[in-house]
């Protein structure tokens, strides 16, 4: 026996895909912007000698260029992938993220910024619509109590079955993404704007300073990417077509025995 449930209203379906598109563009244009100064500092002004993270290129003792990722004082060689990599024109150059992963491909801070800010607007507006919907996913006390057992059942994700309503783990993750992660990414991004900072000096201060806000912004992006990967994996495991259909037409099919 199969049963159809109308799971997603139009506003959610529309903004879901707009958010997906925005996140792809924001990450790719964000990497373009990062390439302009590929270092993060845990302070208000930059402490140039002491980055927390740097992805850059250099020349080795034999005169060969190489790329590296520096975390604190540790360096990992990442030539051809990060630091010294695809320049978007068929060659290679010293740049943090490769041309095939940035928008635009070539080094172009001006257009990278325009892409980023346009889609930041779209993402921000969609986040409001989303928040209205996601507030219903606010985990209850019972959800939180059931969380450990749901976590255990997800240790073997391929055995997870889709259910008509969201399970506690889904609620916590979706709620967390919309009400914790998205606000962190949006607000830390705003804190990078000198005009916004003049209006709200407390904003960069809340993140530990303007440069520290870059860390929050970058880390928030990584966390969103991690969510994205797990999210897509779980969609794959629990029925690609059923999940996709519910996010396109709104209708979700549930087996009566579940």
């Amino acid at each position: 026996m199969k049963r159809r449930v109308y799971r997603q209203p139009l506003a959610v379906r529309l903004t879901h895909w707009l958010v997906f598109l925005s996140l792809v563009v924001l990450a790719m244009s964000g990497m373009q912007i990062f390439n302009a100064h590929p270092a993060l500092y845990a302070s208000d002004a930059s402490r140039f000698g002491r980055p927390v993270l740097a992805i850059d290129g250099a020349i080795d003792a034999q005169g060969r260029p190489y790329g590296y990722v520096q975390i604190g004082s540790r360096r990992i060689t990442t030539t051809h992938v990060l630091g010294y990599t695809d320049d978007g024109m068929g060659g290679e150059e010293a740049r943090a993220f490769p041309g095939w992963a940035t928008i635009p491909s070539m080094r172009d801070l001006a257009d990278g910024r325009r892409w980023h800010i346009l889609f930041a607007w779209i993402f921000g507006l969609c986040a409001f619509v989303y928040a209205r919907w996601a507030i219903r996913l606010r985990p209850t006390l019972a959800d939180l109590r059931a969380l450990p057992s749901t976590l255990v059942s997800h240790l073997m994700p391929w055995r997870v079955k889709s259910e008509p309503s969201y399970n506690p783990l889904q609620k916590v993750s979706y709620f967390g993404v919309v009400f914790v992660l998205a606000p962190i990414v949006i607000l830390s991004g705003l804190a990078l704007s000198p005009a916004v900072d003049a209006w709200a000096p407390w904003l960069p201060a809340a993140f530990g300073g303007r440069q520290f806000a870059r860390i929050w912004h970058f880390g928030g992006m990584l966390a969103l990417m991690a969510f994205f990967i797990v999210h897509v994996a779980m969609v794959g495991v629990t029925g690609v077509w059923n999940n996709l259909r519910s996010m396109i037409t709104g209708w979700f099919v549930v087996r009566a025995d579940s």
Binding site: A45, S46, W100, D108, R113, L118, S193, P194
Partner: protein
Amino acid sequence: MRRVRFLALAGAVALAGCSRIGNALTVNPAFRRALLIPEKLDLAILGAGAPLAREYSIKDISPDFRQNGFDPPHGAQYLRWSRNEWRGYTLGVEGLVRAPHAYTLEELKTRFAAVSNITRHDCVEGWSVIGKWTGVRVSDLITAAGVLPAARFVIFYCMDDDGQGTLYYESLNMHQATHPQTVLAYALNDAPVPIKNGAPLRLKVPTQLGYKSAKYVRRIRFVEDLGGAYGSGGYWEDQGYEWFAGI
């Protein structure tokens, strides 16, 4: 493991596809118009009012005020001025004004109140430095020059060039120019502005990104409109950067 590698490869291919689509859209005239929309929204929202940029204390000042952009001017006249403590250098104030004038550095220091602010300089590239700037409020120059009501923008013409002969320039609207923290600075951290930071006189606009703070300013011109002979309102603006650099 093989499946993970396959998926990683598929992800990279998808990214590369998006990057290509992005390249095509970036030069598409219709999409370009969309890319220009946010700047107008940002200016409308953030450009009203005149909040002050945060002012820091002496201990926050960065050990080195990083230099970025073009090489310092290298013309014979500039080099001569720099060797003679800027004797002979003047700042021209011209355009839609009742009293055009060319100020020597000494005149700027004696005729106008010296104002200081310790503010953060945010480069469009992403880094920040903090420095103490001392100089003349642009609004004081506006009052002294008797700027005509028709003037809506002020253009700052500079002495440094991009290596191909194009001189740096910038512009502000009158609202931004009369902001109390908008100064033409002759001192950085209580010493004359170093050559690398824009000697003898540089603009400082702490509420916008660093490229608005034009260095090596030679003359300022009040105009009715940007565009045409005045370009997009700045060297970097002509390269596609936002004229409103508040974001």
